[in-house]
Symmetry: C2
Subunit: 239 residues, 2 copies
Amino acid sequence: MRILVNFATNIIAMNKCDQCIVRQLSSLKALNKDEVVKLANSKTTYKIKKGEAIFEEGEVTNGVFCIKDGVGKLSKLSANGKDQIVKLVQSGELLGQRSMISNEPANLSAKAVADMEVCFIPKTEILHFFNNNNQFSMNLMQSVCEDLKESENNKIALVQKTVKQRLAETLLQLHDSFGENADKTLKVQLTREELAGIIGTATESCIRLLSDFNKLDLIELVGKKIMLKDIRALKKMAE
Amino acid sequence: MRILVNFATNIIAMNKCDQCIVRQLSSLKALNKDEVVKLANSKTTYKIKKGEAIFEEGEVTNGVFCIKDGVGKLSKLSANGKDQIVKLVQSGELLGQRSMISNEPANLSAKAVADMEVCFIPKTEILHFFNNNNQFSMNLMQSVCEDLKESENNKIALVQKTVKQRLAETLLQLHDSFGENADKTLKVQLTREELAGIIGTATESCIRLLSDFNKLDLIELVGKKIMLKDIRALKKMAE
DNA sequence: ATTATAACATGATAAATATCATTTTTATAA
DNA sequence: TTATAAAAATGATATTTATCATGTTATAAT
């Protein structure tokens, strides 16, 4: 009887996780069928509305979050009250790997930029996979390494490029990673303040530059949305 | 006969690596006796003079470097010809883990800031340890995670703090990580250009601020050396 | 629909920082 | 030891960017 119930549960759960975009794109792709079943049984699913937090800086998370849908930002509040955005994350990605591995409270806050659906996987599960599945641990390792490389390059860009160059670069990256709507505007919709938080500048400076770019026909401002009109020129400007 | 020779070789080699500072401080501390023997047999030792490179940006390294002695800088040359320093490394640390794990050419150049002694460990060895020693893989993972956290925080500091704050912070960090000489000056000796490369500013601006700090009695400039005189005030300034 | 609130926008100005020019000091090699 | 180059220092100036003030438009709540 017990077995039957478990069997039924597992099938449903396995289907759910097995077909999930996170399973296809993240380190979790290395898990075998049994492991996916284990995963499906231990996960919890949440919905997070735009603006809400998944976790805050300083919180102990004790696990990782899979992003099934939506867009999130990892950010840190500075002394002067500005929210510096470190990274945008989207469906298919894992969140909170670093602090889980380091055994530390979260260094950054994670908040929804667009409505999100996430699954929480407890630390014990992840560590079990890490210790028993070499491909998984290698994948996880590579994913953190990729983050490190990105962070280093981003850091260099922030220091060595002007605000104008950083804005051009960031617009291109947003276009690249998140794509465009039917009306050709950028799919991720950030406020000017958030955009300023990514490129590390004052909101007013960001707004001013956007309107310069608009006048130069590099972009078009469609209400609050942004459409890239001259990608070639933006690329040139970013260098 | 064969066994005898190997036995003798291993003892010497094991002693060498077993007592090495890198073995005590890095992820390698998780290795058992047999693994240390394997390590000792596969490593190669190099000496690198101040100013020389261990590896350059874009090079395929195919292994990691252990820093037995000296100080190195990880940096990237920007379009405008400036060398942005991403991180300073010292004895006990490993170098080139990220690009090895990611299977990519080095993203940064590694150069000696002070004469160095390093050992090269081939990729095959490291991967073998990674797949067969859970504690080692966890250590390696944690070390990369630590780098990531540092890089993110450093990035935020670079963007949100003024050049003056960054200089104060960097001087304190150098004091913290590398200590001071008998005459109380900082042990790592960087040129003003290198220091500017860490805080991300023009060399002249860096020199100017150092001389301001000097006038304010926060530091004392002893020739090219720097002595921290008022650590409390520097800390306050960095915030 | 109307009010309140947040987001966006722009001008004026101040502050921070970079750049160019020049001089002084220090290190290095002939 | 002197010549030569590199590093450090400082002034003058230009450029970039932030800040403050204010107005406008969009969005949400009553």
